[in-house]
Subunit: 336 residues, 2 copies
């Protein structure tokens, strides 16, 4: 069975989008709950999802284990897996890792763009790696089965997380820096470390991560994936679209500026273009995954490789990652 | 008028201790509200103080401005000024700086022992200096009149705070590293920077900061102050006893381990001696400040210098620090 899985979305969720997800045949999506929310606000966001799950049970349900991907396929629905792009959700409390895992949080970034209590974000001038609390929290995430996601972290922190974590880590949504030198894209060192430790890289469709931005064409995107596979293998590659569909620009302001500054931080944007950039024409919403599959074929990937990149690798990663440590059948040690 | 002011205490407050403060003739005390508390918990701690202020109005009242020191003297009471040893009280929200200043918070450490969202604590292996949020928050503290306290911060972060802050900063409770090489004590570079920028250093009586710990004698302590004054001047020196009177050892466990680890962190202590160390015999409680005054005289300080160190320097620092930036009559620029 070949699955279609997206490693990251943060849309302005609605029945229309859920129906598009179904129309696109997406089996599972890792959705973002948190950019700067604290624990209580994170729980409120879970409550919103609970209402959506209750209202549209024929379209979506909450995923807790990798088996829920197959359940989604069999029942014609989409499994929604929760994640956080900021450890703000655990505040300063390591005990909240297990609590949030019980509530279904399966991914947590150790940092968003700035320094966190755990590690350094990619927008800081300097990166001192994992903090004391960061090392403790990674161990706790390893224990309960919450994936360390370093998509927005600095280089040194990312490599430190790979080294310190006893289980594979993820970069759910980013592209190679050599292809497009954006601050959010990842170095060869990081990509190589993911490839060698059972980790995973989700290629991003967010225009700021793309060469030529919104004008990036499908061939360019898929050729970039092919070049990455040639260098590092395709066994650890997936898609993490970073789709932020129907979001007002106030949301990207929240993402960037949170509550940490009284100024406006433009992040990847600029004063002239502060809002969400338009998505490439060949990936407007969840109905367009087929374009990527076709593009990967055209870029030279074999059908089984396309299937792996479009979901198979994520499915295997989910299976290795979401259970408690002693139950993990696959892991970093096994991959080495 | 010469004042007696303590730059830091965190006791298990009681009528007995308040009466000792009065018996000792202490005009003002900077008390710690926060070790790891978030905003709501900080407000709860303010509520506790409000009940004490209501219950013992003849002994204590909340200080908001430097004028309250003189008011305390005239009315035979002690002015209590609030401070936080951790920026956990503002969580990730720069707007809470002004809110907490309005509630009376006059000091905030940018870090306790660990990395914070703002800067690096002295127990981290590496110190990358002020973070993006740290620079923003220091500017906001400067604006409203909240003192940047770097007592528990790393060396580089401390020097960065001196440089970035437009107003003088404090190390409310620490001693020179050259006298006793504890992780919490301060380098010549830090002490020199305080001396030259209108800052202030409060000498600590906490045994882990003392040469020979609880056995440190009065002469050794006062000679250390004299050596510091010879090298850097006495104009920026005060006392910050770090008195933690009547606290159960569970409190020092909270200080050290907070919620950031599931292990026990022994901090300045050890597995063999995890609790609060006994205070030196010549400074058991607030009635013993006279011993320090006598010791300073014996160490060679003139009476006006003793008065400055025992409170005059703090009074001047309070006057320069607690008002909004445009109202500050003294400041770092003036001191330079």
């Amino acid at each position: 069975m070949s699955f279609l899985i997206d490693g990251l979305q943060y849309s302005n969720w609605s029945e229309e989008i859920f129906r598009q997800i179904r129309a696109g045949g997406v089996d599972a999506v890792h959705v973002t709950l948190v950019y700067h929310e604290n624990f209580r606000e994170t729980v409120a966001n879970i409550e919103r999802w609970n209402r959506w799950f209750e209202r549209w049970p024929e379209l979506i349900f909450q995923g807790f284990t990798a088996e829920d991907i197959a359940l989604a396929r069999v029942t014609g629905r989409t499994a929604i897996f929760f994640g956080s792009q900021n450890p703000s959700c655990i505040e300063d409390d390591i005990g909240l890792v297990e609590v949030l895992h019980r509530l279904g949080l399966r991914f947590m970034q150790l940092t968003y763009n700035n320094q966190s209590l755990l590690a350094t974000g990619c927008y800081e001038a300097e990166d001192a790696g994992l903090t004391r609390m960061g090392r403790e929290v990674v161990a706790e995430m390893n224990r309960v089965g919450m994936v360390v996601d370093m998509s927005h972290s600095g280089e040194r922190s990312t490599l430190a997380a790979v080294e310190h974590s006893t289980r594979p880590i993820a970069v759910t949504h980013a592209n190679p820096f050599v292809w497009h030198p954006a601050r959010r894209n990842k170095s060869d060192a990081v990509i190589g470390a993911l490839a060698q430790t059972g980790g995973i890289l989700g290629f991003s469709l967010y225009p700021h991560h793309l060469r030529d931005g919104s004008s990036c064409d499908l061939d360019g995107f898929c050729t970039m994936i092919a070049r990455t596979a040639e260098r590092f293998g395709s066994h650890f590659l997936g898609i993490g679209t970073d789709l932020c569909q129907d979001q007002p620009d106030s949301v990207v302001e929240w993402m960037r500026s949170g509550r940490w500054t009284k100024m406006v931080d433009y992040g990847e944007g600029s004063k002239e273009a502060p809002g969400f950039p338009p998505m490439p024409g060949w990936f407007r919403d969840n109905r367009d995954f087929g374009n990527i599959s076709k593009g990967l074929r055209a870029a030279g990937f074999a059908p089984d490789e396309v299937a792996a990149i479009m979901g198979g690798n994520w499915a295997r990663f989910f299976a290795a990652s979401f259970g408690a440590a002693q139950m993990a059948s696959e892991g970093k040690r096994a991959a080495e």
